[in-house]
Symmetry: C2
Subunit: 186 residues, 2 copies
DNA sequence: TCACGATATGGAACACGGTTCCGTTTGTCG
DNA sequence: CGACAAACGGAACCGTGTTCCATATCGTGA
């Protein structure tokens, strides 16, 4: 997907990425292409102009979300007084993003090379950000120290398994509880 | 699915089970219901009369195949001179059956209770049969002794992963090689 | 500024899958 | 041999992803 020449095309591509992400969170990764197009305010043809295939769109959203999630870390730290508060809000973003991640398995066959590549990209990009937030909270003496970033992310990831199939399962709340549980008492 | 009263209905139910199994082996578990109906020589309506849902059909085929695979063991042992020969032919049946098993994951959500139940049924029913054939071959001094039935079945199962998505991957041949490799030399 | 070609758009139309519906056929039982 | 409940076949329906193309829009060169 090379950046389109025309301004409206670039705008639409961006709108689609946002709409798809929102739709995935709202209705799961099985959301029909038509619904995504409608949310973005474009026709289905436009979707396929930008993303040759439904799977490509999912991949694009995934990359986009990893990037957004990674870039959100630093500002969160700056604008929030508390390190733990920043961490909590970041985990919130992370949970929404995980819906897309879990959906990847359905969109790409696990033996697809892109799958592995995307997963390492995911780790490389996000673990340092999580570690940064965790360190900040630790240095502020707000959280217990016996947990590394990767474990935390894995834990949250596991909490979110199945969240896209059962609407009664509130993964977001559980993740919040987990983070709250990190608070150092006394 | 209580056994139908009318003879033709019973015949068709059986034909559907056989046709579905054959179709799954030939075209993968994604095979359209229409194709299965055609192979069985019935209309799609008949399929849905017997199995309310595509997933139900897959489950039924699964149970049926486990049963058939289990019951095939003893006769194979009787009619084949060699214990290893019987084992080899049984593993052949088992491989075909695994295509259906792998497809289950797509038909039933993993958190479905039926999934777990089916898996334990699978183990309870098949491991003893495999063990029986393995023992026979062992007692005839035809195979090495350092392998239990469960491990063998797991090995074959793993060899078959992905066999339904990539037609170039000949899991059947690989499994045959594995069994051939059990032969005790010298 | 504006005209015109390259780009991009929308959404109807298509392919293909599961599922439903119902007029017709057929087995079974008195 | 009826008669009738059971079973059947397959056209029709709905919801997917994807393609196509007449139309609208952008941006550039004069």
């Amino acid at each position: 997907m090379p950046a389109p020449r025309r301004a409206d095309a670039r705008r639409n591509a961006q709108a689609l990425l946002d709409a798809a992400a929102a739709e995935f969170v709202a209705s799961g990764v099985e959301a029909p292409v038509r619904d995504i197009a409608a949310r973005a305010g474009v026709g289905v043809g436009t979707v396929y102009r930008h993303f040759p295939t439904r799977a490509e769109l999912v991949v694009a959203v995934y990359r986009h979300q990893v990037e957004a999630c990674a870039e959100a870390g630093e500002p969160l730290l700056a604008e929030t007084g508390s390190g733990l508060g920043a961490l909590a809000r970041w985990i919130d973003l992370f949970v929404d993003f995980l819906v897309t991640k879990h959906g990847l398995a359905g969109a790409l066959r696990p033996d697809d090379d892109r799958f592995e590549a995307l997963h390492t990209y995911f780790l490389d990009r996000l673990v340092p950000v999580c570690a940064r937030l965790l360190d900040a909270a630790r240095e502020a003496g707000e959280v217990r120290t016996d947990l590394d970033a990767l474990s935390l992310m894995r834990g949250v990831g596991n909490l979110c398994v199945g969240a896209d199939t059962d609407p009664r399962y509130d993964a977001r709340a559980l993740a919040a509880h987990l983070v709250a549980g990190l608070r150092r008492t006394g």
